[in-house]
């Protein structure tokens, strides 16, 4: 399946996971369906004639140790089915899955549990966390079912919680966490087992774009540190290219092309692939609303410079956004001007910078680039009626372009 004509002579890597001719059907008359599939009938025809859904059709790929392999495709392309075959949550209809050369379908129950407990962990789109447990006990779950002694597993879980930057939240209930934090718990839980392979089934798809960027970055830095092998499922081509050392594009249960992002961009296998890649310029797609934030330092006009200074200090920022009583945006108070006001050198009203760039929620991010490059402060986002809604930082605008 690999797109071969431009393959560079790279060293043959250490293959940890190898998928050969994987086929997955759902329904009763699989034999007949396989027959029809061999006769090159389309999936719709097969479904109509036999009632069998062909989710995955004869796919093969290799995953190199220590690398990130992304599988990308639209919903219904079979990518989630594939990843569930890799730890046998689903049993393939046909084909082989080799872990370090061993056929995992030949594993007995006990050996399969060992495989799941020590070698392969999974992160889920909907997090799959246990809502009746706190963060710490969620992270320790994998070690708990493996039978690791309580103190050991809690220590290890604590380490993982620190690694995903959730220290201080270990006693909290899952309900108290935001989506991004929940997925950090999911990742910590998967890492606690110290697996060879991480299976990630659209782990960031349920998160806000901005949080998603953070999580992608964090995954890369964790991977750098621990050097895990990752099989990453996504429907977002940007995510696939940003994270993947190799990328497989799936369509209708087949892999169309497996390649490095660079190769794929230069030599797309067909029109579908190139169309997919072209959709990558997401600054065209994203609006301000996806990236705006509430400023950590927002003060009312009558609160004055001292409050603004205190807020700036505690939030570690150098400017405060000032609104009047009705949330109308007035201006920005820079740190130096605030000091001058406190020293009595400048009246509060005059210290405010009022010609700050503003925008609206539904502006395209790409339209902001020229404004952002000239603006001294993050751009203020206003509602239709002029009320203050939030800010969008230059960093957010630039990362959205990646």
């Amino acid at each position: 399946m690999t797109h071969n004509n431009t393959q560079k002579t790279s060293e043959p890597g250490d293959i940890i996971l190898s998928v050969r001719g994987l086929t997955m059907m759902f329904g009763r008359r699989k034999q007949l369906a396989a027959q029809l599939l061999a006769d090159k009938k389309s999936k719709e025809e097969i479904l109509r004639e036999t009632g069998v859904t062909v989710a995955v059709d004869n796919i093969s790929f290799d995953v190199e140790r220590g690398k990130i392999h992304t599988l990308i495709g639209l919903s219904g392309s079979g990518k989630s089915t594939v990843v569930r075959c890799l730890n046998l949550l689903l049993t393939p209809t046909r084909g082989k899955i080799l872990f370090e050369g061993e056929d995992i379908q030949a594993f007995r129950a006990q050996r399969l549990r060992e495989y799941r407990r020590r070698h392969v962990s999974m992160v889920f789109q909907g997090f799959g966390l246990l809502s009746h447990r706190n963060v710490l006990d969620n992270v320790a779950y994998g070690l708990e079912v493996r039978g690791v002694q309580k103190q050991h597993r809690l220590d290890r879980a604590m380490e993982m919680i620190e690694m995903v930057n959730l220290k201080g939240w270990e006693d909290k209930s899952i309900h108290d966490l935001s989506g991004g934090m929940r997925q950090r718990v999911g990742i910590a839980r998967a890492l606690a087992n110290d697996p060879d392979i991480l299976l990630m089934d659209e782990p960031f798809s349920a998160l806000d774009p901005l949080v998603r960027q953070d999580m992608q970055f964090e995954l890369l830095s964790i991977q750098e540190k621990l050097n895990k092998t990752v099989v990453f499922i996504t429907h977002d081509i940007n995510e696939a290219f940003k994270l993947g050392n190799t990328v497989s594009i799936m369509r209708d249960g087949r892999i169309i092309q497996t390649d490095t992002p660079e190769e794929m961009t230069i030599h797309p296998a067909d029109a579908y692939v190139s169309e997919f890649i072209n959709s990558a310029d997401k600054a065209q797609v994203y609006q301000v609303r996806n990236f705006m934030q509430i400023p950590s330092c927002l003060v009312r006009l009558q609160e004055g410079a001292n409050t603004a200074l205190a807020l700036m200090r505690s939030n570690n920022v150098s400017s405060a956004y000032v609104v009047d009583n009705k949330m109308n945006f007035v201006g920005v108070l820079p740190l130096d001007a605030a000091f001058q006001v406190r020293a009595g050198e400048l009246p509060f009203q005059e210290a405010l910078v009022k010609d700050v760039a503003t925008t609206t929620r539904d502006t395209q991010i790409s339209d902001l680039i020229p404004i952002a490059s000239e603006s001294r402060f993050p751009i203020a986002v206003l509602n239709e009626d002029g009320k203050f809604a939030g800010i969008i930082s230059k960093a957010a605008i630039l990362t959205s372009l990646k």
Binding site: R84, L112, R116, G128, L130, G142
Partner: protein, 286 residues
């Protein structure tokens, strides 16, 4: 016009009464020892529960309800009201009868849970056993309870023991259904996650499925208790003592006051037990 079109044909008749009579008779004659055994076992549990409750003096019970209600509702006024309602039962002279009824209810609910909870788990795992059990549960819930009171009396005699059996039959379906429902509605990814980390089936059940299903299971327990209370009067017809027999006496002697007094006591019991168990269930959820 031929008659069979307008009237059900007289010649067509399947006698199911006699075979049923004969089956019950057969059971009486041949399995007597087994039924005596069951009966003895149930009587033992019942006496144990009764003895345990009777140790509790009235003031301790009232105080316990007060503190339990306070803990559950976090509202001392309401707790005081519940305690006063319980006190009221003693005030109208029905304290001892209430204890007898309570013992029957506790025993019945206990047996219903011991049988129903595992059954609910079983049918949540296997669609086939679910198809078998569901019509049985429907029958248990819809069959008028008087119908099975007759063989219960024949096989087990009059008294509190057949009352417990009749109550168990009537009160068991909710806990079976709700356990099944609760386990089946556990989030698919949560179940997958548990499997993906190498849980055994037992670990999946006790560490994930049952705790996740707990709110629904608690609702099932609550319903089972309520249905057990609803059987109090009916089961007095086969000799169960307690508040139900008081109502029955009221009917037989046309004493409205006696009937209402016992009725009010039953309502108070139902309200108290419902609020307390529901409160505990609600707490679990958070």
């Amino acid at each position: 016009m031929s008659e069979w079109l307008t009237k059900f044909p007289e010649g067509l008749y399947l006698d199911i009464k006699k075979p049923i009579d004969r089956a019950i008779e057969y059971m009486m004659n041949n399995w007597g020892a087994a039924f005596d055994g069951i009966s003895g076992f149930l009587r033992l549990i019942l006496l144990g529960v009764q003895a345990a409750i009777n140790v509790i003096p009235w003031w301790l019970m009232v105080a316990a309800v007060f503190f339990a209600a306070w803990a559950v509702t976090r509202n001392p006024l309401r707790a005081l009201m519940y305690a006063a309602m319980l006190f009221m039962i003693g005030l109208i002279g029905l304290w001892n009868l209430m204890y007898t009824t309570l013992a029957i209810i506790i025993t019945s609910v206990f047996i219903a849970l011991v049988l129903g909870f595992p059954l609910g788990i079983l049918i949540s795992f296997s669609a086939r056993s679910g198809r078998l059990v569901r019509p049985v549960l429907d029958t248990m819930q819809t069959m008028p309870s008087f119908v099975y009171l007759i063989p219960a009396v024949m096989l087990l005699g009059l008294g509190n023991v057949p009352a417990v059996i009749a109550t168990v039959i009537y009160a068991m379906p909710p806990i079976v259904r709700m356990t099944n429902l609760g386990i089946r509605s556990v989030d698919r990814e949560v179940v997958e996650a548990s499997k993906a980390f190498g849980s055994t089936r037992w670990q999946l059940l006790v560490k994930v499925l049952i705790p996740q299903a707990m709110p629904t299971i608690m609702a099932g327990i609550n319903q089972t208790i309520m249905m057990a209370i609803a059987m109090v009067v009916t089961s007095s017809m086969i000799g169960a003592r307690g508040l139900g027999s008081e109502v029955l006496t009221g009917i037989n002697r046309l004493e409205s006051g006696r009937g209402f007094a016992a009725g009010i006591a039953i309502v108070i019991m139902a309200v108290l037990i419902d609020r307390l168990t529901q409160g505990m269930a609600g707490k679990k959820v958070q």
